[in-house]
């Protein structure tokens, strides 16, 4: 063998090793991964059935009202216009599927990411180990883990949610950690000085004060989930992403454009709405959320009558 061409031989066969390991995991532990799918499946199916099953115009009205409640009348109108455009383009069904995947992902990212972030803020050592893991989840190209995900979880919308979950989890963990750490120390000290235990301090002082930052994390998670829509359509996830992918495959520029525009309009609606939810009551002039928007309107009408 020529010493100059030493790298012609594969000395460390990472590829085969990984393949063997994965095969071994699939053969022996597939049932675990199938069990992991169950909660994702339940939430996703519920949301998807609800969103696609409801009459289109009713759904449009509900989402616009939610946007109005969160961000005022103007945002409500923007949401109605965006959703109306999606519907008129003929991408309604697909956009509801995509919305249900994104929402499922947000539910799980929040339910797992916020507690992780809180623990990370309290325990430096835990944060020290968590950080590189989060970096890995964010930087590893999602194409790389598409294959093992398919092998372990098979294809379909639920696997799509899991792929998206891995990619979109880090920001909510990071920003929850940051938000809790940034709470003014004397606020926490005051809570302790008046006899609060750790739990009371967390729920009554730290979490409410960190909420704007945490919501910024949730918003980032939503945006990252949306950016995975097209990639995840490669493991036969349905929805707007699939329109784009099919458009690319068939060089059908029209179809790809409809899918792409649909993603943009959907992104505008959920980005603005989730951002508006993160604005603290302080910055809204101390109005409780139920004193404004359509609910506030109904309540004030109810009082008058």
């Amino acid at each position: 063998m020529d010493l100059w061409d030493i790298f012609d031989t594969e000395w460390v066969p990472i590829g085969p090793w990984v393949e063997q390991f994965l095969q071994w995991v699939v053969n022996n532990f597939r049932f675990i991964f199938q069990a992991i799918k169950v909660p994702f499946d339940i939430v996703l199916t519920g949301l998807e059935d609800g969103l696609t099953g409801a009459p289109d115009l009713l759904m449009l009205a509900i989402i616009s009202l939610v946007a109005w409640q969160a961000g005022g009348r103007k945002l409500g109108l923007i949401a109605a216009a965006c959703l109306g455009s999606i519907g008129l383009m003929g991408a309604w069904e697909e956009s509801m599927t995509t919305l249900s995947i994104v929402l499922t992902c947000v539910v799980f990212c929040s339910a797992i990411g916020i507690p992780l972030g809180v623990v990370a803020a309290k325990r430096d050592r835990f944060w020290y180990f968590l950080q590189p893991l989060l970096d890995l989840m964010q930087t590893i190209p999602s194409f790389v883990y598409l294959v093992p995900i398919v092998m372990l979880f098979s294809i379909g919308n639920v696997s799509g949610v899991i792929v998206t979950f891995i990619y979109a989890l880090p920001p909510v963990v990071r920003l929850t950690n940051l938000g809790i750490r940034q709470v003014r120390p004397d606020m926490v000290e005051a809570a302790r000085a008046f006899g609060a235990n750790d739990r009371q301090t967390l729920y009554k002082v730290e979490l409410p004060l960190a909420m704007p930052t945490i919501m910024a994390g949730v918003n980032q998670t939503i945006m990252m989930a949306l950016s995975m829509v097209v990639v995840s359509s490669m493991i036969s996830v349905t929805g707007l992403g699939q329109m784009v992918l099919r458009g690319i495959g068939r060089l059908d520029m029209g179809l790809a454009t409809v899918g792409g525009l649909g993603i943009v309009f959907l992104a505008i609606v959920i980005d603005r709405t989730s951002q508006a939810m993160g604005i603290s009551a302080r910055d809204r002039g101390h109005k409780k959320w139920h004193e404004t928007g359509p609910i506030g309107l109904i309540r004030s009408l109810g009082r008058k009558a």
Binding site: D186, E189, A190, R192, A193, F194, G195, A196, L209, H286
Partner: protein, 338 residues
């Protein structure tokens, strides 16, 4: 008179090797610098002992970094002592369990913070009622207590407002109301008025003194301002570099500073209201009582008022009328100069 707060031989050393540092300090009497260099530890409080009697205002005065806030936080154990004993209202705090400690903090000790530390997401009522809330009191009773505490601080009608809608002085009155809401026996005040402008500070000092006269809370009051300490305190402890340098009444501190450090502080203090007739009078030594008299306990300002009319020496008389000593204009002026 019983001591409501008593700290004995309290030490606080910060750092991972605080235990070893503590042993070395006790054995070899290391200085602050030696502790830092040999153990990489910071000496926060050095062998502090003091006691606060029931109902009095006890001021701890020192510059920033002197350890006064650290010392204060030992009383409700927001900071754990490295060594020493803490007794509060008849209970031993330094060995107390977590649940007892939370009860003590919620029921026996109220605390006021330098930067108010009001929670911005809670209304004034929710801020003031926090201590009662964590003890599990119902919302209506909590609101009543908060309302009473706010009224006592002239904040009637603000209960549903938020802290950022108030001025700094009003915010600190909320801070006081929060500390008083559970009707604790003890108040810990960590430079409560130093973030306010001078006029508001003066008003709040007066308001607090007025309030203290009626409710008689045992108060530990931290300040970096000797004028404030003298105005507020029945007793004053002066701290420097984690150590209590001198403890005494305002008059003792001003007339008899223990070392140069204290003397330096005392220099600029007006003594007219602090020095009393019995401190500066000379023995009678056979001289007969003079025509003009002044009572024991009169302060220097009153004595000067007498000398403004004419310069004849004053006879100091006891309450029952017996002459106790003599003050000449010379001794009065000497006392004023310090």
């Amino acid at each position: 008179m019983t001591a409501q707060i008593e700290c004995r031989d309290l030490w606080k050393i910060y750092g991972p090797k605080s235990k070893q540092a503590m042993e070395a300090v006790l054995k070899d009497g290391l200085s602050k610098e030696e502790v830092r260099d040999q153990f990489d530890c910071v000496l926060g409080v050095r062998n502090a002992s003091f006691s606060v009697q029931k109902g009095e205002i006890f001021c701890i005065m020192g510059l920033s970094g002197s350890g006064k806030s650290t010392l204060l936080r030992h009383v409700n154990r927001l900071i754990e002592p490295t060594s020493g004993e803490i007794h509060v209202a008849g209970e031993r705090v330094d060995t107390m369990g977590a649940a007892d400690l939370r009860r003590l903090r919620a029921e026996t000790i109220g605390m006021v913070f330098q930067h108010m530390a009001l929670w911005p997401h809670r209304t004034l009522g929710e801020n003031v009622g926090f201590g009662l809330e964590v003890r599990g009191m119902g919302p209506d009773a909590r609101r009543d207590a908060a309302q009473r505490a706010l009224e006592a601080m002239d904040l009637k009608g603000w209960i549903d407002h938020y802290p950022d809608q108030l001025s700094g002085g009003m915010q600190q009155r909320v801070g006081l109301a929060r500390a008083l809401a559970a009707d604790p026996e003890i108040l810990l005040m960590d430079e409560p008025f130093s973030a306010l402008d001078p006029l508001i500070r003066r008003q709040l000092q007066d308001q607090f003194l007025e309030l203290s006269k009626t409710v008689r809370k045992t108060t530990l009051f931290i300040t970096h301002d000797l004028d404030e300490a003298i105005r507020m305190g029945d007793h004053i402890a002066i701290m420097n570099d984690g150590e209590i340098v001198q403890t005494g009444t305002p008059e003792e501190i001003v007339t008899n500073p223990k070392d140069d450090y204290v003397a330096e502080f005392v220099k600029g203090i007006s003594r007219a209201g602090l020095v009393h007739a019995e401190t500066i009078m000379e023995p009678l030594n056979g001289r007969g009582p003079t025509a003009k008299t002044i009572r024991v306990g009169a302060d220097l300002a009153a004595i000067i008022d007498q000398f403004m009319e004419d310069q004849e020496p004053l006879t100091v008389t006891c309450p029952e009328g017996k002459p106790a000593g003599l003050i000449t204009i010379k001794s009065a002026l000497t006392a004023l100069r310090g």
